[in-house]
Amino acid sequence: MKHNLILRVIAKLLIPIIVLYALYVQFHGDFGPGGGFQAGVIFSVAFIFYALVYGIETAERVMPESVLRILASLGVLIYAGTGVATMLLGGNFLDYNVLASNPIAGQHIGILVIELGVGITVSSVMLLIFFIFAGRARQ
């Protein structure tokens, strides 16, 4: 295990912080730099770190590949679904103004939701790609 002892302890310490930071970036894209894509990448990096230290199999137990596939699809569906919802509410595709009684609130909700979609897809696809690449060595 050698150097992994230090890595393991540091990983335990850092991973929750990285994940929280990813979520912070996700939800503060409105105010500062950041947003769904960046958050998604950071989120997946936290898991990659986990997988590096504790092994891919452990990481896959926490986040199975099948779940990741569904999440990846889900993100796209959330985004496109928001567009469809605005269409059903009488606006144009992705016209968030119709989502709430006043345009600003509508925009706010719309942006929050689609950024969430972006974050979910990006994080799960990135992680999926990493798992596939790293797990390839087994075969």
């Binding site: 295990m1 150097h3 992994n4 890595l7 850092l14 912080i17 990285i18 930071y21 970036v25 105010f31 500062g32 730099p33 950041g34 960046q38 950071i42 990096v45 990659i48 770190f49 997988a51 590096l52 230290v53 504790y54 092994g55 891919i56 199999e57 452990t58 690449f133 790293a134 797990g135 060595a137 087994r138």
Partner: protein
């Protein structure tokens, strides 16, 4: 002004680290300089945030401070084990590097 001085100093350090990365000679020297370069980038961004008065930028420095070393860990893991798959816990053998 003081930020300028600090920024300049960091730039010079970055240049020195870059030179080491280019010269090598071993792959470890390069990793070392990349790591050092990462820290310097964090500092440069932090200084620039104050220089231009936009403290929002600190988030970027923060993200580098958090995840830059994961790249280094990945390199080392690869050099030691030759793949990402092995969990390392039970692994004692060393795959020759490079």
């Amino acid at each position: 002004m003081m930020y300028t001085a600090a920024a300049l100093a960091i730039l010079i350090t970055m240049g020195l680290a870059l030179a080491r990365a280019l010269l090598g000679p071993t792959v470890y020297d390069r990793i070392l300089s990349v790591n050092m370069f990462g820290t310097k980038t964090v500092l440069l961004i932090a200084v620039f945030a104050f220089l231009s008065g936009q403290t929002d930028i600190l988030d970027i420095a923060l993200v580098y401070a958090l995840i830059n070393f994961i790249g280094v860990v990945a390199v080392l893991k690869l050099i030691e084990q030759g793949n990402f798959f092995t969990s390392g816990e039970k692994d004692e053998r060393e795959v020759e590097s490079e």
